[in-house]
């Protein structure tokens, strides 16, 4: 017999709902209202229907061009940092000691970048990368590389990516380490008896056991990198030109810089929808992976 789902416990969520109403639902409704109108301030609004959405999704307009370009940059950025951070995090986790006092040392060192606020990370790397006074920038230029993140697009991208890898690989490593710790020694002993190679142990024991934490890591890193604002804004300000302007930076430029509330509202709704869909897909995969459901049984 199938389990009956009872949803009555949701009434216990009402107090949270009241708080969220003021912090999220009312603002979100306002954004929906703004996305349909144009304003010149002073609470005077003019109906525009789906005009902003039309402009937003049409690459030939200014708004659409900027949105789609920044969306492309953002997806590229997320793909690059995931491709670097996930394998790197696994390697770091695998090479960490499994017992002894060095475990604590490793954990503290790994946790350090995670404790630094985003804007401070940005400031650190902004100064670190400066060709005149920064250690990294000065060293690179002394070695003959023409490195300048303010004027060269490639250098700006490299700086932002290395900064993100520096900041967040620890998170992936710590999650993977937690997954590795949960593997009983018996698995390794069995593998040793069977004469399994290092690669076979990784593929057959460690990777499957890290499956769930890796999904969480990928989800967290994707969401964070897709919504990234502070670090690139502090380091490059979205430049040179628009080369490191990600969606959130573009959004703030439109909403607060130009005070185009309608355009910004339409952009943030589409942005929100993308994040919502990705979140849902990841959440569904995460909660269903590895839970093998028995096929529907017949009689008896």
């Amino acid at each position: 017999m199938d389990k009956i789902v009872n949803q009555k416990a949701w009434f216990l969520v009402l107090p949270v709902f009241a708080v969220v109403a003021f912090s999220a639902i009312l603002p979100l409704m306002t954004v929906v209202n703004y996305s349909m109108q144009d304003t010149f301030g002073n609470n005077q609004f003019f109906w525009n229907g789906v005009g902003w959405f039309k402009e937003l999704l049409d690459p030939s307009t200014d708004l659409g061009g900027r949105f789609l370009a920044s969306l492309g940059r953002n997806l590229l950025f997320s793909a690059i940092i995931l491709a670097i951070e996930v394998p790197l995090g696994i390697v770091v986790a695998l090479s960490m000691p499994r017992e002894g006092w060095t475990v604590a040392v490793c954990l503290v060192i790994l946790a350090l970048p995670l404790l630094i606020p985003w804007n401070v990370v940005g400031t650190i790397w902004q100064i670190f990368g400066r060709p005149d006074i920064g250690l990294l920038g000065y060293a690179l230029n002394s070695l003959g590389f023409d490195y300048n993140y303010v004027s060269n697009e490639f250098d700006a991208w490299a700086t932002v990516i290395v900064m993100d890898v520096w900041h967040w690989t620890s998170l992936v490593a710590l999650l993977c380490y937690a997954g590795l710790k949960s593997i009983p020694d018996a698995y390794y002993q069995a593998a040793q008896i069977d004469g399994a190679s290092r690669w076979a142990v990784f593929k057959a024991i460690q990777l499957p056991k890290m499956n769930r934490v890796l999904l969480i890591a990928v989800l967290l890193r994707f969401m964070d990198s897709f919504m990234i604002y502070t670090e690139p804004f502090v380091v490059t300000g979205g430049g040179p030109g628009n080369s490191t302007t990600f969606v959130s930076i573009e959004l703030v430029k439109i909403a607060l810089g130009q005070f185009d509330l309608g355009k910004a509202a339409a952009l943030s709704l589409v942005y929100n929808l993308i994040i919502l869909i990705v979140c849902w897909v990841f959440y569904t995969v995460m909660t269903n992976v590895g839970t093998e459901r028995p096929e529907k049984k017949g009689a008896a």
Binding site: Q7, M29, V32, N33, F45
Partner: protein
């Protein structure tokens, strides 16, 4: 009304949110009056009515955005009311969304 002027309410958006709230209300009542079991559909994931509503709403949003992007919102026909009321072709997207919602509720 003066102190919520910043929320910029309009009749269409108000109707939209009222209908959304009504839908959620009806779903809540359904959940209490007729408790249901999760079931596995074509997506191979267990879903409740609420899950299927969520998928339908997100699908509807995506359908409307794709329609605006690739088909546009040219008027479909003009109703002979007053000076003529234009019906945007976006309503076709709404129609497709409704059909897809029915499909999602039946198969997912």
């Amino acid at each position: 009304m003066e102190n919520i002027a910043w929320m910029a309410w309009t009749l269409p958006t108000a109707i939209f949110f009222v209908m959304l709230a009504l839908t959620l209300g009806v779903m809540t009542w359904l959940g209490i009056a007729y408790p249901e079991a999760e079931r596995v559909g074509i997506l191979r994931i267990p879903t409740t009515r609420g899950d299927r509503l969520f998928i339908s709403l997100v699908t509807a949003a995506v359908i409307h955005l794709l329609w605006i992007a690739f088909v546009g919102t040219d008027p479909l026909l003009t109703l002979p009311i007053g000076e003529g009321v234009e019906i945007s072709s976006l309503w076709l997207a709404t129609l497709i969304s409704l059909v897809s919602a029915v499909a999602i509720f039946r198969t997912v």
